[in-house]
Amino acid sequence: MTESAPTMLQLDQVSIRYPGSPADVVQRVDLTIPEGGSLGLVGESGSGKSTVARAIVGLVASTGGRIALAGRDVTNARGADLARVRTTVQMVFQDPNASLHPRMAVGDALAEAVSVRRKFNGPDLDAEIARLLDLVGLSPRFTDRFPFELSGGQRQRVAIARSLAVEPRVILLDEPTASLDVSVQATVLNLLRELRSELGLTYLAISHDLAVMRYLCDRIAVMELGSIKEIGPASEMFAAPRHHYTAALIDAVPRLGGRSGTRIVLRGDPSDVADRPSGCSFHLRCPAGPDVVADHERCRTEVPELDDDAHSVACHFPVA
């Protein structure tokens, strides 16, 4: 994407705290995606990545900061504003098994989605449904099928078709292939790449699998325990990760024929936001943390800030 493309989605110091929760699950997150761009939000479960996506479409409320869509402030939008957000942004969920109405035939589900924004008469509606199915590589005979009659990959295609029905400009992809077999994942990833270039869509993709992100995104943001630890162009990130957490995530991707060299071991399990470690939230698990490297004591006390760079990292002692 060229730098000059107008900003499509912007998050400015967004924080989110669930009612009754003792701590923010998302802490002062900044993100910018230009029109037609594709940003990958990467992290383990509990990192807050899905919560960010849900806040953008108003499924959860943000408790601080500002969310702007195509230059318009849509933070915690209500009423007509929210309706506009939802015809601009759509979401594809992780498990197509749960994200499709189990008792609605494919055609009915698409017809409902199409009719939200545009009015069609009978034959035109049928043609529009056929067009949407064709976009995701399904034939019109799927119209009268129910979700339980489809394979996992076909269901996810239907879910993608439904999200396209309102002609959105931004699509949030929440682990779009995590519940699919590897062979099916490939076809869905290819489809998502094609759709983006064909329709000029803007993507915000969420995954814990960096290899998947590499296929879908041109920029990557790595989240850990509610805040962004590293953000930059995908190619640079994979070639030379600067945060130890990013390096560990990249290292964890299975490699065909085994890995060369030793594995980066993260000590312990991910921490909990309710019990966020002081200083750098990653310091307890970090292979370059104060428990491993003697003079890295400041990681315990001082919260690292993102340095202001095209490829930015929040770490006191980044990977060399």
Partner: protein
Amino acid sequence: MTDAALEISDLEVSFGTGKHRTTVVHGVSLRVEPGEIVGVVGESGSGKTLTAMAATDLLPAGASRDASVWRFRGIDLLAASRSARATAFGGKIGVVFQDPMSSLNPARRVGAQLADTARQWGRRSRSEARDDAIDRLRRVRIAAPERRVDDHPHEFSGGMRQRTMIAMGLMTTPMLIVADEPTTALDVTVQADVMALIAELNQQEGTAVLLVSHNIALVSEVCHRVVVMYAGKIVEELAADHLAEHARHPYTRALIGSVPTLEADLSRPLTAIDGVPPDPGQLPAGCAFAARCPSVTDRCLIETPVLVNGVACWVAT
């Protein structure tokens, strides 16, 4: 020749009886040597799980098994009664399932569940069994096992539960660990951790492992040998380090090509396997993969290929 850890030949698994009988695993032969890690790879519905479950006497209700040879540590299981099979497997096999949330009893403490196994098969006293449980939890890298042993499963993360299932297998001295998609529900970092633990146990204790997964890259990282299944049959069997370069079956190659890697050329799409697998209960004539195969020939549509020299394909050489 020493006895295999687990051996089953000409396995058929069917559901239903009489007119409604459908066979979904067709003539699969599987052998796991002591100390060997064997991976079984395939898509959902390929019969990989049923094969592993049939070989370890864990078939779900309604499924029936038929085989010509079935041995565990040299003990013939075909003629054995259900209870004799349970004794043969008892304490010698560990099982790790896909869903860490439902594989432990939520109402009982973790330590008590581990101790059950030791008391049943290792004839240990209550306090000895508890000490064993703490020791095994430490072995699978659960921090502060003395404290954690009294936790309930809901206090454990997904990765900790899968490690606990492995610890449960280790309460006695298992010959074989069967892991069915043990990391599918886990984060990649935790997945790497669990796989490293499995590989480490294999190296240090000589435990054989039967690993079932849909992810061929994951399997290739830890396994010695890989068995590729498609529509209820084995289509290829090869050493794991031959996967990347020497896979011969078009299906195996397509599976490999479909894995997104950190090195692949981004300007090209991933290899997609178009279409869906046939229902293993109603296989077409000829090769089951023919309809999706890029190198299909006329022969493939008529004659069913058999497994010769590790590959079941008329085209592969």
